[in-house]
């Protein structure tokens, strides 16, 4: 059972992408090869002028049933006791099978070292008693992180544009009602 998860309130997102920058900076993620553990994806629906947009800040959802682990032929992906899913890059052979199965595009191929990498939920920060970098920086409370016990019954399991959660049981919930106070 996962200990931690994400709570996303998309309507609060101003698309500033502090979550993305914070992630890159804290985790020292290579720049210039388009490896971005977290991304804000903006989608639109409806026809002008009855149009709506939605910004979803997405990273690894550290699923309860991680298909990436199943996909990995060399057992390079593993799950900590607290549910954080990690890639052991000593074992990783860069076959990209995990990326092909993940419904959320979380594992990404680092072409420089020819290995996969992805969001670690900033385990170093979690273990030091801090929040992940992305949730720490989010100015509007659109992206929150916390104990899964506190999150799992909030909001909805899915919003349009998000893959069927019954597949991998991602540890993320979406605030969908009210003005998400």
């Amino acid at each position: 059972m996962a200990k931690y998860g994400w709570l996303l309130d998309a309507k609060r997102c101003i698309e500033c992408r502090a979550c993305e920058s914070a992630c890159k900076q804290w985790n020292g993620v290579e720049t210039g090869i388009n490896v971005r553990y977290r991304r804000v994806n903006v989608s639109e629906s409806g026809k002008y002028p009855n149009v709506k947009t939605q910004a979803l800040s997405m990273a690894c959802n550290h699923c309860e049933n991680p298909w990436c682990i199943k996909a990995c032929p060399v057992k390079a992906i593993w799950r900590r006791d607290d549910g954080v899913v990690l890639i052991d890059r000593d074992r990783c052979v860069g076959c990209t099978m995990c990326a092909q199965l993940c419904p959320y595009g979380a594992p990404q191929f680092n072409i420089e070292v020819r290995k996969m990498e992805k969001c670690t939920m900033c385990v170093d920060r979690i273990d030091a008693g801090l929040q992940p970098a992305c949730a720490t920086l989010c100015p509007t409370g659109a992206l929150k992180w916390g104990k899964w016990d506190d999150i799992q019954n909030k909001g909805a399991a899915q919003v349009p544009g998000f893959a069927n959660p019954n597949q991998t049981k991602p540890n993320i919930r979406f605030v969908v009602s009210g003005w998400g106070k």
């Binding site: 920058s21 900076q25 290579e30 720049t31 000593d90 170093d124 100015p139 106070k181």
Partner: protein, 748 residues
């Protein structure tokens, strides 16, 4: 080296501590900067201020082993409310950009052009400063002060003193593309910069093109989010469904350049139905003195009339005006280059907006626009009063003398500069100094490149080798804000005074220096009497900062204050009962007699935007600044570049279908002054008669290894202006008319 990546790998499950190249900024740091970083062991948490945009959000920085490790928001800071935006969080990537200018350099190739290799040769600071000083002296001696052009903001104070000391008349900045109209109108209508918007206490917010959420300015974005939390209603007029529009209850894709019509009609409703805040208006404004004039003036601007101009239905305008009056406190923000205020009718629009706020009775009241309660940090002229400055003599390259209110304000004029250099006074400018500005920021950059070629000597100070640096005879490397010391008083959100320190997280890298240093050193060479303390010694920048700290009551020294990092005085907010409007009436001015005295509109009159769609140019041309970029200065930041590397022509699916344009297809956008080619991006979020292009792209400097060569310059299709065009358009507060272009679009 002991850098972060290794620690991080160890954390990542232990098993991952294999051999791996350091990534991201750490790689840049190790490869390009470590040698320039004095060894400093251990981890520190330091307070500083962001320097990307002017609200300067407070930063809590982690510095480890001499390297900037992580930037996050500073709790209790008024500007960022404890957070940073995507730009702020990526700040270290400016400091650790391998493309940075590192040393003073001079060009060895006398031929200037975007594609010419300057043939840079490293020189000493002394040689650079001696050369620049000699060039200035020679230009003044032979051609007078009017031959000097300084393209720079009027800060910092020591740099400004240098320009004053040598009698610079032609100082130019980008403010006419930004808040110039607002600043001038505020001076006469409310009395000072009401840049603070008390959104969190507003109940009704009307946004004319105001799209600062989409620019991720946290100082305002946080307030809008709070307003939603507190149940405010938000109405948004914008040709495009922006990130801000998403936060609105109602969005109207107004016809570009017609916000003024809707604002005038709202005033008409408030006056004709007597819905204004009578208590405030009677006590604190000049309404009574001009009531008949005012009522007569607005009578014709009915919602029915405004509908014809703006395409916003008359009943909607009438309802919004009534709600605005009934459901306050209500606010209409203005400020900054947005889709409303940078049309030729920007002066009138900002005046109309100011009147709406006055009629709502929320000037300096809860839920309205208020004056910042700032700490007044003394400048060098207070601390070491200078001898009398020489008079500013000569001709103005920007023609500002024809716009008395702009002249009085001192801001601008980017939009008329190239016309001045090339057409009004060709050959007049003999020496130019560009400080942290590049040609991309001007309307019609190709015209600016031509203008640069006509200037015999150009010095450029910047952080990165911009396109403009490519034309320089000498380039000077500037520190990033993370390597600089200063005191930053909050004045974008300041119900009570607060100051946050800006301190060097690391010492300046390589031979980078501040513009204040350049001002002081050039001053010593050219006007030494202006750079001495009463004791007769040359001003020392560190001592000056200590003096500022002491005299502001922040601490005994800068070192003492930076250890604390933040000062505040949570005094209660007392609304103003007298207003410092120019002219001295002590009241807010709806009718501005001073405008009438100098031939400007004393009340906002309807004027169309400058360029209207025509058979040849049928589409409106809009530009915007993406949330992850700031002007044209951030595109080479490794993190931000990766998120938003280039621009596209954003057009509606309906227009694309009509023109036969597919997603990603290259299109040519052509105006009366130029053309750009870029890929189309199709969307449902924009009016079908408009195209929108992100500003900041199209850098061509090959020394910018990330941003160089990517994207199109939005400005290439934006006409620069002549001063006479501005005057003729009634554009008395000098809007640069960035949004006034109309274009043709064709698929390629």
């Amino acid at each position: 080296m002991g850098l972060t990546r290794r620690d991080w790998l160890q954390w990542t499950g232990g098993a991952a501590a294999g051999v791996m190249a350091a990534g991201g900024l750490q790689a840049a740091f190790e490869e390009h900067f470590q040698a320039a970083t004095p060894a400093a062991a251990g981890e520190q948490t330091l307070i500083t201020s962001c320097g990307i945009c002017s609200p300067s959000c407070g930063i809590k920085a982690t510095v480890k082993d001499g390297a900037i490790r992580f930037l996050e928001g500073l709790e209790g800071d008024l500007s960022g409310n404890g957070h940073l935006c995507g730009k702020g969080a990526a700040g270290a990537a400016f400091t650790y950009d391998p493309d940075r200018l590192k040393y003073p350099m001079k060009r060895t190739n006398p031929k200037k052009g975007l594609d010419e290799d300057p043939g840079w040769v490293r020189i000493s600071w002394d040689e650079a400063l001696d050369t620049i000083a000699a060039k200035i002296k020679d230009a003044i001696t032979r051609y007078g002060q009017e031959s000097l052009l300084f393209v720079t903001l009027p800060s910092p104070d020591v740099w400004m003193r240098f320009m004053n000391a040598i009698g610079v008349i032609n100082r130019i900045d980008h403010i006419d593309e930004c808040f110039l109209t607002d600043r001038i109108i505020q001076r006469y209508t409310t009395g000072g910069k009401t840049w603070c918007n008390d959104f969190e206490n507003s109940k009704y917010i009307v946004l004319f093109g105001w799209d600062i959420l989409a620019k991720a300015k946290l100082v305002y974005a946080n307030g809008i989010v709070d307003a939603r939390d507190n149940g405010a209603k938000i109405v948004c007029f914008n040709p495009q469904y922006s990130a801000t529009a998403r936060f609105a209850d109602e969005w109207y894709p107004i016809k570009p350049g017609t916000d003024l019509a809707v604002a005038l009609a709202m005033i008409q409703v408030l006056l004709s139905e007597n819905l204004y805040n009578k208590e405030f208006v009677d006590a604190y404004t000049n309404f009574k003195d001009y009531e008949t004039k005012i009522r007569e003036h607005f009578a014709a601007y009915t919602p029915e009339w405004a509908e014809q101009e703006s395409e916003v239905p008359a009943d909607v305008i009438r309802r919004i005006a009534r709600e605005f009056a009934a459901n306050g406190p209500a606010i209409v923000p203005a400020h900054k280059k947005t889709l409303c205020a940078n049309y030729a009718n920007g002066s009138q629009l900002v005046h109309a907006i100011s009147i709406l706020n006055i009629l709502a009775g929320t000037i300096d009241r809860p839920g309205g626009r208020y004056f910042p309660r700032s700490v007044n940090i003394p400048g060098v002229d207070n601390i070491y009063p200078p001898p009398a400055y020489p008079p500013k003599q000569g001709r103005r390259i920007d023609g500002k003398e024809k716009l008395p209110f702009v002249l009085e304000d001192g801001g601008g004029m980017f939009s008329t500069l190239t016309d001045g250099i090339l057409n009004r006074y060709p050959g007049m400018i003999k020496f130019a100094f560009f400080n942290f500005y590049t040609a991309l920021g001007f309307p019609n950059p190709p015209q600016m490149f031509e203008a640069l070629k006509t200037i015999p000597f150009l010095a450029v100070m910047d952080i990165i080798p911009t396109d403009t640096a490519n034309f320089a005879d000498i380039v000077l490397p500037h520190v990033t804000y993370l390597e600089a010391n200063d005191l930053v008083a909050r004045d974008y959100k300041a119900k009570y005074p607060q100051v946050v320190v800006r301190q060097a997280l690391i010492p300046p890298m390589f031979e980078t220096k501040s513009i204040a240093y350049v001002g002081l050193e050039l001053g010593k060479r050219l006007a030494p009497d202006y750079f001495k303390t009463p004791a007769g010694e040359f001003i020392n920048l560190n001592t000056l900062l200590d003096e500022k700290t002491k005299r502001s009551g922040l601490g005994g020294s800068f070192a003492e204050f930076k250890a604390v990092g933040i000062y505040e005085n949570k005094q209660p907010f007392t609304p103003r009962t007298t207003f410092a409007t120019a002219g001295g009436s002590g009241k807010c001015q709806i009718y501005v007699p001073q405008f009438a005295e100098k031939g400007a509109d004393p009340l906002p009159v309807w004027r169309p935007k400058r360029d209207l769609p025509s058979p040849e140019y049928p589409y409106y041309y809009l530009t915007f600044i993406p949330a992850v970029h700031r002007r044209n200065t951030t595109e080479n930041n490794a993190i931000l570049h990766e998120m938003f590397p280039t621009n596209s022509a954003i057009i509606s699916t309906a227009l694309a279908a009509k023109l036969g344009i597919k997603e990603g297809q290259t299109v040519r956008i052509r105006s009366r002054v130029g053309a750009i080619e870029l890929p189309a991006h199709l969307t449902e979020t924009i009016r079908p008669d408009a195209v929108m292009v992100a500003h900041g792209f199209g850098h061509r400097s090959k020394f910018l290894t990330k941003a160089g060569g990517l994207g199109a310059r939005d400005g290439d299709v934006i006409p620069a202006q002549t001063i006479d065009e501005l005057v003729k358009a009634g554009n008395f507060a000098g809007a640069a008319c960035i949004m006034d272009a109309v274009v043709n679009i064709e698929p390629l």
